[in-house]
């Protein structure tokens, strides 16, 4: 089984340092990992653990200080703008705050048209483009005909995040990096969005990396979980191993601090 799995994204000695001298902070500290194709991975950490820095490095939005990232087994080279654009056809992201993820001056159509253009569909006839956009919107339960000429900020937070998924639907990347995609929206919209993401993953067979502080979410969706503290992975494995039977004290504490509903939530172990 293990031999069959193809490497999708991996890293060796990945390090990111901000500042120098007194203000020097190591955000990501010598991290190694291998993510396989089709997996759902969760990187769990509290605020300040370096998980967002890691995700930006994986996306190629910031440069790594040291170490190497391998994409499909090849060393990633995104030094030129052209290579970057090529890389971004394969890796896409959904950000935490839907309200700040959209350019407030662009209409919804232009957000989706950009995706079609990126997939090389810039020269398609107009009807074909509209057909594609309509399909993407209906996938996420939005009505395209009601959205044309609207701006993203006219939608609710959940709808905006769904539009983000429609974007991914059009782009069909190999990897999706979801950076706290549900932390800004409420519980019942969260279920909708997770459902859609998982269905989309099945449909286009992409690898999904969740960056989250929500242990419940990590347990619910992922095939493998990485717990991050101070820029390092302290524990990793399947959700059953890591979350139900944690070995490291940090993981134990973290999981102990999450409110439960079936088991007794022990308040006495605080502080």
């Amino acid at each position: 089984m293990a031999e069959k799995r193809k490497l999708c994204l991996s890293a060796k000695g990945l390090t990111k340092v901000f500042g120098f001298g007194k203000t020097r902070t190591v955000a990501v500290d010598n991290v190694d990992f291998s993510f396989y194709e089709g997996e759902v991975i969760s990187i769990v950490g509290e605020s300040g653990s370096g998980k967002t820095t890691l995700s930006k490095m994986l996306l190629g939005l910031i440069n790594e200080t040291e170490g190497e990232i391998f994409f499909l087994g090849q060393k990633r080279d995104i030094r030129s703008q052209r290579n970057k654009q090529e890389y971004w056809k394969n890796i896409q992201a959904i950000f935490q705050d839907p309200f700040s993820s959209y350019n407030i001056f662009n209409k919804i159509d232009s957000v989706l048209l950009d995706c079609i253009k990126m997939r090389g569909g810039g020269n398609l006839p107009k009807e074909k483009k509209i057909e594609m956009m309509r399909e993407a919107c209906s996938f996420v339960n939005l009505k395209f005909d009601e959205l044309t000429n609207k701006y993203p900020f006219e939608l609710s937070g959940g709808q905006m995040q769904r539009l983000m998924i429609a974007r991914i639907f059009l782009l069909k990347p190999k990897i999706l990096l979801a950076d706290e995609p549900t932390s800004m929206i409420d519980a019942c919209s969260r279920a909708t969005i997770l459902d859609m993401l998982m269905e989309l993953r099945k449909e286009i067979g992409m690898t999904v990396i969740f960056i989250t502080h929500d242990i419940g979410l990590a347990y619910y969706v992922s095939d493998s979980v990485y717990i991050m503290e101070h820029g390092k992975f302290v524990e990793s494995g399947t959700p059953d191993e890591v979350i139900l039977h944690p070995k490291q004290p940090y993981t134990k504490r973290l999981i102990n601090d999450v409110p439960k509903i079936y088991e007794e939530w022990d308040l006495s172990t605080v502080g």
């Binding site: 930006k56 996306l59 939005l61 703008q81 970057k84 654009q85 971004w88 056809k89 896409q92 992201a93 950000f95 935490q96 705050d97 700040s100 993820s101 959209y102 350019n103 407030i104 001056f105 662009n106 950009d114 995706c115 253009k117 990126m118």
Partner: protein, 416 residues
Amino acid sequence: MIHTLQQIFHSGKFKLGFAIFTSLLAFIFIYPIFIPEAPLAILGQGTFFPPGIYVNVYDSLDTSKYIINQEGAAKRRIANKLSEDDRVAIKEYLVAAGVDESRIDITNTDELLQQWKATFDPKRSIKGFTNAKRNYYIRLNTALQSLYSTGPAIIAVNDPETNTLLESKKVTVTEYVNVNEVPTVRIFPLGTDNFGRDMLTELVAATKTSLQIGFIAGLIATLIGLTLGLLAGYIGGFVDDIINFISNLFIVIPPFVLLVLISFSIGQEQRGASTVAAVIGFTSWVWTARAVRSQVISLRNRDHVNLSKLSGHSIPHIILTDILPYIASYVIMAMILQISSGILAEASLSILGLGPKTTEVPTLGLMMNWAMIYQAQLQGNWWAYFPVLAVIALIAFSMNLMNTGLDQVFNPSLRD
């Protein structure tokens, strides 16, 4: 877009500022249609004619006369003819002749003249008065007596053959002409300046030029500041360091000193209005650049910019569509301030005599400069400088009001 405009016009401050500014603009453009006169045409011989209606004396002689018996007309005429110096001299004589000083009121012409009549005696010599002074009082007395005469004045023409004066017309004290019937009347609503030019026409032209200078200066400053700020903020690194170095240089040297030095080195002949505008623009971009840079730095790490990158957009595309629109409101506000400070900078330069060339067009600063050189402020010729000041103040006030109004709209924490 329409929504934003609506919001902008909801702000009382913006509305007031906008109203003042547009009425100024409207006046500037409408006035020349009705009075298409060259703004620098020298009309009056002499300096600083006070505001008022000027009636041609020669033409009014030929205009039909109306007899009007006005009570008090004679009194007013006398009061008008008796100059301030004469009144003081009369008082001095009266006091010397032993009249109680507290009973003399030099503003009350009637009483003063009665006291004079009762006291003055040409033969009497008063201690301390020189001969010349005594003769002056005798002359004054004769003049005062002629004031009471009600006989007509005679207009005479010179007969070239006999070289004698021939009576042609008589003008009595009760004759009037209708101003509307006099063919040549000149109104100077704001008087004339030191060269005898119509102040209002000049002021309108000057406001126009000053606004043009301010606009060009503001545009140049904003363009330079915006470009450098965008480059420094978005690209960062080495480019940022260089731009920061340049703008630090400009900050260390006060811009006004720079402005004075550059204007001086250009020389009087080369300094047209547009040159001055460009110089002002080139020296005042620093703060715009700084502000834009800091805004861009905070914007470039936002998610929508990251998303735009992930969508494969090029750097120019990102700057134009994901950064620029977000700071547009800010830049417009900065530009309004730049325009108004450009106008003030021009005024300051011109007062120092470093303004645009003086022969082509007037500017508000030049008008101030002329008024100052010809000492209008010392002679009490308020019309030569006060309207100019008021216009400068109005422009700056209205622009700042608009700026504050915009700020309230774009920065919700300032809304009332």
